[in-house]
């Protein structure tokens, strides 16, 4: 199985077989989403897996950067079409939570807001200050939103910027890809446009 998530600024990607990660890559470089296929090629080269051995593609379905999210899903759908294999989606908040049990996932939503989900928290959009006001003492936050707004979450526990905990777990996406959950983009926010009368 091949799985990746490009919805946040930390792109992750892995090849997975029967519960084992064969090879894994993460990238926090600018335009990492645009380069996700380069990571895929590296994984194939490193693991010796042939592309016709890939039998399922898994992808993170957001929320996150609208552009990154779309690149991930378009790439996954194109690969599935080209390889003739099925496709399964996992929410990016879930993929973050899977990588760090008990934590709260915080994804940068731009415009001074974050997407958040975790134990006892329904997925939603909130300002960092709004989230900070309801944090439990010592709550563990993961995700690019936690990193970007680190100073707003003074009472929380946040791993160093480049910790793998902040990247959605590609292994978790691979693990669930076999269930073939629908790949519908989760934007959690409407486009800035008003219908005309």
């Amino acid at each position: 199985m091949l799985a990746f998530d490009t919805a946040t600024s930390l792109v992750s990607c892995c090849l997975w077989r029967d519960g084992d990660v064969l090879a894994e890559r993460r990238s926090a470089e600018p335009r990492a989403a645009q380069r996700v296929l380069a990571l895929v090629e590296e994984l194939l080269a490193e693991s010796g897996v042939r592309r016709d051995e890939i039998d399922t593609v898994g992808v993170g379905t957001g929320p996150g950067s609208f552009t990154g999210l779309r690149i991930g899903i378009a790439t996954a759908r194109g690969l599935a079409l080209g390889l003739g294999v099925p496709l399964g989606g996992t929410g990016t908040l879930d993929a973050l939570l899977a990588g760090c049990a008990g934590a709260t996932a915080v994804i940068d939503a731009r415009r001074g807001e974050v997407f958040v989900a975790g134990p006892g928290r329904e997925p939603g959009v909130i300002t960092p200050a709004g989230l900070a006001a309801v944090l439990r003492p010592g709550e563990v936050l993961v995700g690019d939103g936690a990193v970007r707004h680190r100073e707003a979450f003074a009472g929380a526990s946040i791993a160093p910027d480049l910790s793998p905990l902040h990247a959605p777990s590609a292994a978790a996406i691979a693990e669930r890809a076999g269930q073939l959950q629908p790949v519908d983009a989760v934007y959690l926010r409407r486009p800035d446009a008003e219908p005309v009368a």
């Binding site: 296929l37 090629e41 378009a74 446009a193």
Partner: protein, 333 residues
Amino acid sequence: MILAIETSCDDTCAAVVGHDAVVRSSVRSSQDALHATFGGVVPEVASRRHLELAVPVVERALDDAGVALAQIDRVAVTQGPGLIGALLVGVATAKAIAVARQLPLVPVDHLYGHVAALRLAPLRLPAPFACLLVSGGHSLLIDVERYDRLSVLGGTLDDAAGEAFDKGARLLGLPFPGGPQLESLGEGGDPRRFPFPEVLRDRPLELSFSGVKTSLLYRIRDLGDAAEDARADLAASFQAAVVSQLASRARALLAETGRDVLAVVGGVAANGRLREQLGAVCAASGARLALLPASLCVDNAAMIAAAALDREGVTGRELAELDAFARSPLSAR
């Protein structure tokens, strides 16, 4: 066989074209109805729609052509210019198909694509020729020495021709996209009733439509309640002003380049009055007018495949890292 994808603006397009330049299929899923509810193209709305339509449109193009993905030996995609979020959906889809099938990918400049539509069968127009590219996003006067060597000799200082039509239509209360509706409204109207000022008389290769649009606004305001009854005449007069400006620029382009063929491409090339006027310009200049069916004038993917006809494309790392661009080096003058 080439598979091409085009998502630079608001239409999701895919096509299959043979190496013999014969179009096997060309699918265009228009988002017009969707954007009409917003009164124009909203980039985020368009990008979301492209994502949902990209793979179904590709599958439909293969189906229509009666071709299996295994018979495709090259993939082509619009790399830019256009709405960056929209372009990225097409680019990501095309890259992934190329990586999965281990095919080369040809990144195409949308503007070269519009011109390359003229290479397709049955027209197969040989270069060199002079070309007028007029669409909702672009108005360019081009000397086509070869299909891979275009020189832009002039363009618009403000709006594109198609944009001018859409804005004029909106002033007349027509829904988006207004160009074609403005043409039908003006059909019974008198194009001479409201003369519009001539623009840029001393710059024969430049276009400008903002003055014409403002004049229309003032005409409508001055007419007050009478504007309602004069709508057909206003539409006809406004269209005549835009078309005559394009025709005079086409005449200057032929003179400047010395070419004996004038081609016209882009969505506005479907306009009947424009075709008529350009026919007259060519007759007077001793040139031949080359026209395409409307389906190849508007944004489509067959033209993107046409631009990939004799290009090898990129593979490996270059393919995997390919990115879209919002602005064309060609229109940056």
